[in-house]
Chain length 202, copies 2
Amino acid sequence: MEPARKQTGAQTSSGGRPRSPRIQQAILKAAVDLALESGFRAISMDDIAARANVGRMTIYRRWCNKAAIVMDAFVARVDPGTLFLPAQSYTESIRLQMRSMAKLFRGKDGALIRALLAEAQFDPRLAVELRDRWTMPRRKMAIAYFQQGIKDGFLRPDVDPDAMIDILYAPIYYRLQMGTGPLSDAYVDEIFAHAMKGLRKV
Amino acid sequence: MEPARKQTGAQTSSGGRPRSPRIQQAILKAAVDLALESGFRAISMDDIAARANVGRMTIYRRWCNKAAIVMDAFVARVDPGTLFLPAQSYTESIRLQMRSMAKLFRGKDGALIRALLAEAQFDPRLAVELRDRWTMPRRKMAIAYFQQGIKDGFLRPDVDPDAMIDILYAPIYYRLQMGTGPLSDAYVDEIFAHAMKGLRKV
DNA sequence: ATGGATACGATACAGCTCGTATCGATCCGG
DNA sequence: CCGGATCGATACGAGCTGTATCGTATCCAT
């Protein structure tokens, strides 16, 4: 029901005192620190303002709620990462990419995306932001990599790359949220191996 | 930080006026109806009390927050369902079970579990409830069915049933939350088929 | 340099929700 | 028939939200 963010750089363009980038960073850091310390739900805009030593209006001028702040901070944190790096083999590169994502989720970023994904279930605008700035960019990269793998004969030509993404990566999100077990490298390897070779006995 | 439920049937046993089961049902129905109409986040305890024609204290005597109410209502709604029914073949029964879960998620119960799963990310007690009363019972059933399938030679003997569950069912949860596409039977069939035969070209 | 325009910290305000407390009335069991 | 817990209703303090306003600070254009 609430807007997920106000307007990223909409500063009516000309005239007046420009917004301080130093304050911007202070707010982002305060929001992330507090969210990791006390939990996203427990903190308020007041808390963030107090921690960042800024007025509450200064925050509301840029973001409309704490989810939008954490969203910006999260994207800035993880943006340079999670690519398909070259490995010993084509499929090995996929496995390592899955591992790096699991490692990300085990750390602080895991707590952040857990909160963002949950919050997005109640905030349609945040859901769009999360899809546009986190989910879809990574899916597009994966699709391109998988299509290349199909062309090169490493992957079955009759698979939909979208379904392939879901089979490989959805379990990582699932375990992040459900807590049915540790998000370990061993788990990732298991998902990868079984998904690659199939579950049916031949 | 907040308790997920108070005590299910703790009515100090003897003496005094017993709690009305009619009121219990009215509250559960009011909570679900309102959550589906306006969204879980938008409704308050006051709204539920008003819709159920009940005092707010009457609700707080039984549940400690709206998530606990919706949790009870959800479990009561879907409890008799989602079993592995006999089909033309062993694996076909798995596919049909996945379809029935997707169908559940497409309907009103999908909206409910979406809210509960999201809320559980912020409420540890609710997370335990959700795992004990929804997730684990179904995982246990699936594990038993898969172990039988391994013994009967339908499934690879070197798969961990837990990993198998995640590969098959996590994509359904993923799409429910991410909205990367429709939760259609065609999608379920695709996940099932690819997971069964594997992604790697042989 | 000077004035217009905006950001900034601080404070106040109404509205909503929560959780608890309390009231008299109701209803059940011993 | 009487103790005891539930019931609807109401009130209360506390916290958070979103907006408004004040005086000050800072930048851009003239």
